[in-house]
Amino acid sequence: MTRWWQDEHFKLGLRDMVSVAPGMAAWGLMTGVATANSGLSGIEVMLLTLLVYAGSSQLAALPLIAAGAPLWVVLVTAFCVNLRFVVFSAHLRNYMMDLPLGVRLFRGYATADLSYMLMIRRWPQAAADAAGRRAQRNFLAGTSLLGWLSWVGANLLGVAFSSSIPMNWGLGFAGTMALVGILCALTNNPLRVVSLLVAGAVAVATMALPLRLNILVSIAVAVAICLFLERWLPPAPSDEEGA
């Protein structure tokens, strides 16, 4: 049996990730700069960089940690910013359940936005047979590995050169642009476009809510409206159904 790193799907995953890794790296670089400039000690910066592996929740938590906010505020905020992963995990369940718990947790940890999105773009549903699911997970291993390397590598570079890279270059926007590309890739159905627009508008309108609860509210409102509209607009095709 070929090992996972020799598998063609693993290589395919690496190749797919190459097209968005520059965005992840630029975003990682600026997150590294922001982390290094946040007033944390060197050890704290290194641990945060190497372990947390979630850029947006890292950036949301940093000012709170620096300001000495209560721990539960830091955590609930980071949880809300990461809510999209909870949604993704419901979808990923069928791809993952062949694995033992420890491996599942590790694979979950390693699956950030881009690797999840790249996989469901190729395979909206988990394969019916075990060999097919293993191939899908090998693909996910390729995207996740390259994603982790470019994120953490760039993050460390950002920490190292934090004094010579000014934040106002706005390089971090490359991360947002990578996610914009993914959003475009997901808009393959009118109701998905509605979901995007409603969630975006609600997130902006409710930004003043504490603890980034605006994200929770946006998902709930967008999904409710889409389920309601399914009566009149063509629902997203059933072969795209998660879980």
Binding site: V18, V20, P22, G23, G39, E44, L48, L51, V52, Y53, S56, I65, L71, V74, F79, L83, R84, F85, V86, V87, S89, A90, L101, R104, L105, R107, G108, Y109, T111, D113, G170, F173, A174, T176, M177, A178, L179, V180, G181, L183, C184, A185, L186, R192, S195, L197, A199, G200, A203, V204, M207, I215, I219, A222, V223, C226, L227, P235, E241, G242
Partner: protein, 111 residues
């Protein structure tokens, strides 16, 4: 501000745990379960909503306020990147095209 303290280390450890738990949330338990039909339909729309709720504010808001000027490099970058995607389909092209519009506007014109 320098100096490592236990409180911050605890925060970092819990943030790491938060990453593990949120990303694995629905496949931690190996108990068999089936989603009700409405929840299965929700999963068609929830991923894009969850991503949009994070991305859209990053494009149209500054410091928690909606941008009030059209002279914002981000708006043009997203328009350019999205146009590329719908014409050519490539993710890398979307990223490069968006940044090619964003950086000159931001660094050159200060938008």
């Amino acid at each position: 501000m320098e100096g490592t303290d236990a409180w911050t280390l605890l925060a970092v450890a819990l943030l790491t745990l938060n990453t593990v738990v949120t990303r694995s949330f629905f496949f931690i338990s190996s108990k068999k379960w089936t989603l009700p039909a409405w929840a299965r339909r929700s999963l068609v729309y929830a991923p894009i909503a969850a991503l949009a709720a994070v991305v859209v504010p990053e494009v149209v808001m500054t410091q928690g306020q909606l941008v009030t000027t059209w002279q914002d490099a981000r708006l043009f970058a997203v328009a350019a990147g999205a146009s590329w995607y719908y014409l050519r389909k490539g993710l890398l092209g979307t990223l490069v095209c968006g940044m090619a519009v964003y950086l000159p506007l931001r660094l050159g014109l200060g938008w």
